[in-house]
Symmetry: C2
Subunit: 202 residues, 2 copies
């Protein structure tokens, strides 16, 4: 029996995964980016690292059959299935309060960094690092001159990816709250993300 969690638009959730467990992460409403973080358990000092993933896979982003790597160069999450156009970003930092302030938003704004911290805290956990996230479904166009442009996701309602834990870890998924630039679609509307645990639940 699978266990389905709907993460409300703009919010985050954390999930403990034992080695071998796998989850489906997808789009219940429409185009949306899911910021993904992961920390080893019980030692959260080892974390999913985009720079080590690039170094170990020798690619900008892993493809199905490859893995996301930890800060200690260990394969951490297997990328098992991709039922989306396959466009994911490992280049850009997670949005934080300063990002919204710099974009001209006055006052507090929900953000992926705060979502990560809150989601871990809900499980009684705390990370000492804010790693650069894997931005599932995010489309960042790289120009020939090295320019980076955030474009609306190609992914649509029903698209999903499947990842499997290769060590005991806590996975954090944030439904990105961005509503100023088209990270989550041309409608600038943050949407929900679903996370479905695919392993038997007792």
């Amino acid at each position: 029996m699978s266990q389905y969690t709907l993460i409300e638009a703009g919010h985050g959730r954390a999930f403990r995964l034992a080695t071998g467990e796998h989850v489906r992460i997808g789009l219940p409403e429409g185009s949306q980016v899911a910021d993904m973080f992961a920390f080893a358990l019980p030692d959260l000092e080892e974390y999913l690292s985009t720079e080590h993933t690039r170094s170990c896979t020798q690619r900008l982003a892993p493809v199905v059959g490859e893995a996301f790597y930890s800060s200690r160069r260990r394969p951490m999450l297997a990328f098992e299935e991709d039922r989306s156009p396959g466009t994911h970003d490992l280049l850009l930092s997670a949005c934080d309060q300063m990002r919204y302030t710099l974009l001209g938003h006055a006052g507090p704004h929900r953000n992926c960094v705060a979502n990560m911290i809150e989601a871990l805290a809900a499980l009684g956990l705390k990370a000492s690092q804010i790693p650069s996230p894997v931005n599932i479904f995010e489309k960042v166009a790289i120009g020939i001159d090295g320019s980076l442009v955030i474009e609306p996701p190609l992914a649509a309602r029903g698209d999903f990816v499947v990842i499997r834990a290769l060590m005991d870890l806590v996975l954090v998924i944030s439904a990105c709250p961005m509503d100023i630039v088209p990270t989550n679609g041309p409608d600038l509307r943050p949407k929900a993300i679903f996370v479905e645990r695919l392993d038997a639940v007792a």
Copy 2:
């Protein structure tokens, strides 16, 4: 009067820079990569972040006239001059012991992460993070399929860059010890790096 430091091949050095001070970082012998880290002073929790630099500049790497940004999205180092072919990498993690072990090297090997830790310790400082470095002079070719290939640097003897501190900080430069893949040139020979302080020294 400037102050010239020759960093021995495979080693690292740290430099305290006050706001406004600038340094030249260059190649006294020939092609070589300089891994650059920076931490704010007195609060080392704020550090030079490649992911925030990409997000803030909307480029894979800053160009002259732009800046390298901190983990708090503040401009940290101004990129003032580039007397090299202009190829620098902000994608790949710093080499560490595990990198050499995975490449088949038996036993300990000098590495940029250990160089950073040692160089900070020599100034009585300690960082709680191992940020992804700015790999000055490193050439990483990005394929149309997203593949990344480390190629010998285009930079040659005498080439240099100039950066200026935009906050009080400690700058760490590691002359990358890589001698297995052609990061530092087709000769696989780690070489020295020079750092020249360009401000008047009392």
